[in-house]
C-alpha cells in the first residue's frame, strides 16, 4: 500500500511538474504582450481596474449547500451520501465552513460480489473469509462524514452555456480536517494457530466455531483525517448556484475485514491507508439574498 501511495504521489508530482513546465515555458518563451489575454491599456482607461462592478458572491455571505455525494474508486463498497455544508466568507476569496453527511446507501463493488460468489474458504484463510456468502457483512464501511475547512477562491469568471445562458462561475479550493464514522470488522483472534484456523475468539465469544460469528461482529470508531479538494461553482441568481465538488480524505481502515498483516488476528494493525474520495453535486443558497457589487 505504501508503494501505491508513493506511485500516487509520483503521478501527482509528474502532472504538477508538467503543468508548471507548460505554464513557465510558455511564459518565458512567449512575448509578454501576447501571454494569454493580457489587458494592456493606454489612454483614459490606463490604471483603471480590470474588473468593474464586480459581483461579490461570497463576501460576508453565508452559503448553505445541501448536497448528494458518492464515493469513487472504492475497493469493496461505495457510499451514497446525503448531507449539507455551511460556509461563511470573510472576503470574497476566503472563508471557512463545515460539512456533514450520512451514508444513505452502501453499494458493493464487483470485487465484493465476485468474492461472495467464488471465494474459497480453507483453514489457511478462515480468519479472512469465514464464509463467502456472508462476505459483504465483514467489509469496512463509512457511515457518516463531517469536517471543517478553509476555502480559498482564487479564480472566477463567467461562462456561456449553449450561447443562451450566461453565468458567473468560480473555483473553490479547500483544505481542512474530516471526522469520519467508520464501521469495521471487530477484533478477533484465529485459533488454534495462524494459518490453521478452525475457530475464532472475539469479545463476548471465546469459541466461535468457523469464525462465523466473528465475520459479522462490528466495531465503530471516529477517524480523523485531512481533507482537501476543489469545486466548480456556477451562480444563476443572486442567491442560487450549483456546486460540483471533489473531496479527498485519506485515512486508514480495514476495508476488506481481513488479516492484512498476517499475524493471525484482526485488529487495528490491519488497517491500510485508503485514498477515499468523493464527488458531490450541491445547490448553493446564499444569504443574505441581496448581492453586493464593487464600485
Amino acid at each position: 500500500m505504501m508503494m501505491r501511495a508513493r506511485h500516487t504521489l509520483l503521478r501527482i508530482s509528474f502532472v504538477a511538474a508538467l503543468t508548471f513546465g507548460l505554464v513557465t515555458a510558455e511564459g518565458l518563451a512567449g512575448d509578454n504582450s501576447v501571454s494569454a489575454q493580457s489587458v494592456q491599456v493606454s489612454g483614459p482607461l490606463k490604471g483603471a481596474p480590470s474588473v468593474r462592478n464586480l459581483r461579490l458572491w461570497r463576501d460576508m455571505r453565508l452559503h448553505v449547500e445541501p448536497f448528494f455525494a458518492f464515493t469513487i474508486a472504492d475497493e469493496y463498497a461505495r457510499s451514497l451520501i446525503v448531507g449539507g455544508e455551511v460556509r461563511f466568507h470573510f472576503l470574497d476569496w476566503l472563508g471557512i465552513g463545515g460539512w456533514g453527511g450520512y451514508s444513505v446507501g452502501q453499494l458493493d463493488t464487483n470485487l465484493t460480489k465476485e468474492i461472495q460468489s467464488s471465494g474459497v474458504t480453507t483453514n489457511a484463510n478462515r480468519l479472512d473469509l469465514p464464509s463467502r456468502e456472508n462476505y459483504p457483512g465483514q467489509v469496512g464501511r463509512v457511515n457518516w462524514w463531517s469536517g471543517v475547512e478553509v476555502h480559498f477562491v482564487p479564480f472566477r469568471g463567467k461562462l456561456a452555456m449553449f450561447q443562451k445562458v450566461f453565468v458567473d462561475a468560480d473555483i473553490d479550493f479547500f483544505v481542512g480536517a474530516a471526522f469520519v464514522g467508520v464501521e469495521e470488522r471487530a477484533d478477533a483472534v484465529g485459533q488454534p494457530a495462524p494459518g490453521n484456523v478452525t475457530f475464532c475468539q472475539f469479545e463476548g465469544n471465546a469459541m466461535d466455531d468457523g469464525c462465523l460469528g466473528s465475520q459479522g461482529a462490528r466495531a465503530s470508531r471516529v477517524a480523523i483525517a485531512p481533507s482537501f479538494g476543489a469545486s466548480f461553482n456556477a451562480f444563476f441568481r443572486e442567491f442560487v448556484g450549483i456546486s460540483l465538488r471533489w473531496r479527498g480524505i485519506p485515512f486508514k481502515y480495514n476495508t476488506s475485514g481481513t488479516d492484512n498483516n498476517r499475524d493471525g488476528q484482526i485488529d487495528s494493525s490491519d488497517r491500510l491507508r485508503q485514498f477515499n474520495n468523493m464527488f458531490s453535486v450541491g445547490v448553493i443558497f446564499a444569504l443574505p439574498p441581496k448581492i453586493k457589487t464593487t464600485n
Binding site: M1, M3, R4, H7, T19, L22, V23, E26, G30, V34, S35, A36, Q37, S38, V39, Q40, V41, S42, G43, L45, A48, S50, V51, R52, N53, L54, R55, I72, A73, E75, E114, I115, S118, V120, T121, N125, D128, L129, R132, P154, F155, R156, G157, K158, L159, A160, F162, Q163, K164, V165, F166, D168, A169, D170, I171, S256, T258, D259, N260, T293
Partner: protein, 304 residues
C-alpha cells in the same frame, strides 16, 4: 439572422474603432450579464444554438454582409463586445496527452495519446484519437503483471480467488467534439479563456488476456474489440494557438477474459482457454495534455 448580423456588424465596428477600450472591458457586473442574457432571447429567431453556431461560425470567418444605410437616426445603446479570443473554425488541432486509468484496481495503466481534430464549425470538430498502452511489447522478461497493484496478491491469499486480467495494446477512435460551454477567468491582470467540450466516438481496442490460471499451457494473441467512448474536457487557452487541456474519458468495450476453470481433459485445447461470454469493460481515465491549433494565426475578417 439578418437583424442579428446587422447588430453584430455595429458591435464589431465599434470594437474595431476602440480596440484598447474593448480589451479593457472585463466586467462581471449585474448589468453586463443582464444584457447578455437579454440580447440572445430577443434575437433568437433561429432554430437552435447548434444551427445558429454553424451560421455564426461562417460569419465570423468571412465577415457579415454590410447592411443597407439607415435613413433615420436611431437612438440605440450600443455595447462593445470582444472578438472570440481564439477561433477554432477551419483549424486543425493536434493534441498529445498522457492518460491515467482511474478505475482499474488490479493493474496500473498508463497511456500516451495523440488526437487530431478538424473544426468544421467553431463548436464542432471531427477527429481521431490514439492511445498506446503496451509498454512491454515483445521484450523478454517484461511482465505486465509487474504493474499489478497490491490488491491482487491479497485477493489470491485471502480469498483464494484468481483474477483474470487483460493487457491493453492500443485504442483508436473516431470522435465528434462539441463545445457547449465557454468562458473566461481572471488571474491578477491576465484573463484566460477556456471552454468545456463533450466528446464521443467509436473505434477499436486491442487487448490480450494475461495467462494467470494455467500459464504453463495457455498463451493468447491480441484481440481487436469494437469500442466506444464518451467524455468531457476542459481547455484553457494559453495563447491563440496553444492550450492546456484535461479530459475525463470513459472507454467501453466488450472483452473476453481468460477462463478461470482448467479442464484437465482438454487442457491443451485453445477453445477452452477463454470465458464463453464477453464482459463489458468501462475504462475511465483522465487525460492531460496540450493542444496546438494550426494554422497558429487566427484571421478575423472585419467589415470595412
Amino acid at each position: 439572422m439578418r437583424v442579428f448580423g446587422g447588430i453584430a456588424l455595429l458591435l464589431v465596428a465599434f470594437g474595431f474603432a476602440l480596440p484598447s477600450v474593448v480589451e479593457a472591458q472585463m466586467e462581471f457586473s449585474l448589468d453586463e450579464v443582464d444584457e447578455e442574457e437579454a440580447e440572445p432571447a430577443k434575437q433568437s429567431e433561429s432554430q437552435g444554438d447548434l444551427i445558429e453556431e454553424l451560421a455564426a461560425g461562417e460569419e465570423t470567418a468571412d465577415g457579415p454582409e454590410e447592411p443597407a444605410p439607415q435613413r433615420e437616426e436611431i437612438a440605440e445603446e450600443i455595447y462593445a463586445v470582444q472578438q472570440i479570443y481564439a477561433l477554432r473554425l477551419k483549424r486543425f488541432e493536434l493534441a498529445p496527452s498522457a492518460a491515467f486509468t482511474l478505475n482499474d484496481p488490479y493493474l496500473k495503466r498508463y497511456g500516451l495519446g495523440l488526437a487530431m481534430n478538424y473544426w468544421f464549425t467553431n463548436v464542432l470538430a471531427i477527429g481521431l484519437n490514439f492511445i498506446w498502452y503496451d509498454w512491454c511489447g515483445e521484450r523478454p522478461g517484461c511482465n505486465p503483471l509487474d504493474r499489478g497493484t497490491d490488491i491482487v496478491p491479497r485477493i489470491q491469499n485471502q480469498f483464494r480467488l484468481g483474477v483474470p486480467i487483460n493487457d491493453w495494446q492500443f485504442g483508436l477512435w473516431a470522435n465528434f467534439t462539441y463545445v457547449p460551454f465557454y468562458g473566461k477567468f481572471k488571474v491578477r491582470k491576465t484573463i484566460f479563456q477556456w471552454d468545456s467540450y463533450l466528446i464521443g466516438g467509436v473505434g477499436l481496442m486491442r487487448t490480450q488476456p494475461i495467462p494467470v490460471f494455467d500459464p504453463e499451457v495457455r498463451s493468447f494473441d491480441w484481440n481487436t474489440n469494437v469500442a466506444f467512448n464518451v467524455g468531457v474536457g476542459l481547455r484553457i487557452f494559453m495563447t491563440r494557438y496553444l492550450t492546456f487541456f484535461t479530459e475525463f474519458r470513459a472507454y467501453m468495450w466488450p472483452d473476453r477474459f481468460e477462463n478461470e476453470r482448467v479442464d484437465p481433459g482438454n487442457r491443451n485445447d485453445p477453445s477452452t482457454w477463454l470465458q464463453s461470454g464477453s464482459t463489458f469493460v468501462a475504462n475511465t481515465s483522465i487525460q492531460i495534455g496540450i493542444t496546438l491549433f494550426l494554422p497558429v494565426k487566427v484571421e478575423y475578417r472585419l467589415p470595412k
